[in-house]
Assembly symmetry: C2
DNA sequence: GGATGTGAACGACTTCACAGCG
DNA sequence: CGCTGTGAAGTCGTTCACATCC
């Protein structure tokens, strides 16, 4: 499988062209995650089969869009019948690369980090937080949710020992780039960044940034220019 | 100003067509937030003027893209010179509707809520958390960061008294839809949802969902299908 | 009949390229 | 000359419509 690489904005995932299977755009990948969430919910309700229309409706996506997205994963649907919930879930997890466990190290032990540590949703999707790092000497050595806080200086050792491939950044914006550079040097392959900063990552390291302020601003924008006049 | 309404996916911001100023796509709006972050950083460094190239480079956006985005805000650039940092910041804040204070009520007092409460970035961008609600009787009446936790049953009164227009949802996925319905009834106009659930909002209420698991999945996807074979 | 898979049409967004201004 | 603003061209993604299969 190969993914299409439209505009950049973050990450620098250059695609070193593999075999020419049907391409999976990043937009599709984003929706696949959502389909997965819906499908799991449908499965809990005991629904074994569903149509593109049903799946789409729950998310506000057109049936055609759903079929297009799913078509990339192979011939999973049966005309006249629909898709098997279980097969879809498996196929999507495979396509997203989450049909296995991913280990992540959490860098920056603040309130957000604590919240993420206690969040069960990550585990459920196969993400495991295996280590904690911070440069605050007062925090190093303390234990949170069963994990000992390690020094930032030991980053390389920690990554190597735990085998973490991903890192979650919950450090202040000013410190973020420096931490990224150190993380890149450890061979980490993916970064989930919560700092409100535009980060540069070297080739081969993937970056996804979640800027909560940006999300709030988008919301304000929508509200501001939507219906009822004020 | 009026915004273009491409595909839905979340929110239901129907655009009741206003005067035909240059349109601001949602994609552009997302970038404007990022420009803003960069511009503030440039300003802190004392940079009074900059070009579309400089601004774009810091974010991995082409200079042409930056100019196109900024062109919607009026004639701000001077050929041969560039843009004024201050003017740009003001114009973007106006365009995004954040040239004023937005009050928000936080519903669901868990770890994430605590992290958000302590996060200073919101205040800095003009977002103020003015109230806290939870349906857990054990939490009601306690105080966090100077805010008293109110009962969910008092939601309407709380919203009315504080004048909150936005709500931030940090409740479990199962509870989310019910809370949304109650919030919608209070006349809230925007929702920032952190629950991993596909929510339905009535007409006139705007929704932005931040699903942290989705973001991690995107990252796994990128790493999985990027360079170095494993 | 009911639902999939898919080319073709369409629309939105991005990049290109250049005229025009400071 | 440098940089903006902008039509034109190009690319990407979504919707339509229908042949096809159960």
């Amino acid at each position: 499988m190969i993914l299409t690489t439209p505009n950049g904005m973050d990450s620098d995932t250059d695609q070193p062209a593999g075999p020419n299977e049907p391409r999976l755009s990043r937009a599709s990948a984003g929706r696949l995650s959502l389909y997965l969430r819906s499908l799991e919910s449908f499965r809990r309700e005991g629904l074994g089969k569903l149509s593109s229309g049903q799946l789409g409706e729950s998310l506000g996506v057109s049936d055609a869009q759903v079929r297009k997205d799913l078509a990339c994963l192979g011939h999973l649907g049966q005309p006249g019948i629909g898709y098997s919930t279980n097969e879809l879930i498996d196929a999507i997890r495979r396509a997203l690369g989450i049909d296995r466990e991913w280990k992540a190290v959490l860098v920056g032990v603040g309130n957000l980090a604590r919240a993420l540590l206690r969040y069960r949703g990550f585990q459920q999707q196969g993400f495991r937080l295996v280590a904690l790092c911070d440069n605050d000497a007062a925090k190093v050595g303390t234990t949170i949710e069963g994990l000992r806080v390690e020094s930032l200086d030991d980053l390389t050792a920690v990554v190597r020992k735990t085998g973490a491939e991903l890192a979650i950044l919950t450090v202040p914006a000013e410190a973020a780039q420096a931490v990224v550079d150190r993380l890149a040097a450890t061979g980490i392959r993916g970064l989930l960044n919560f700092a409100p900063a535009a980060l540069k990552v070297p080739h081969g390291v993937n970056l996804v940034t979640v800027d909560l302020t940006v999300q709030l601003e988008q919301l304000a924008f929508l509200v501001q220019w939507s219906a009822p006049e004020r």
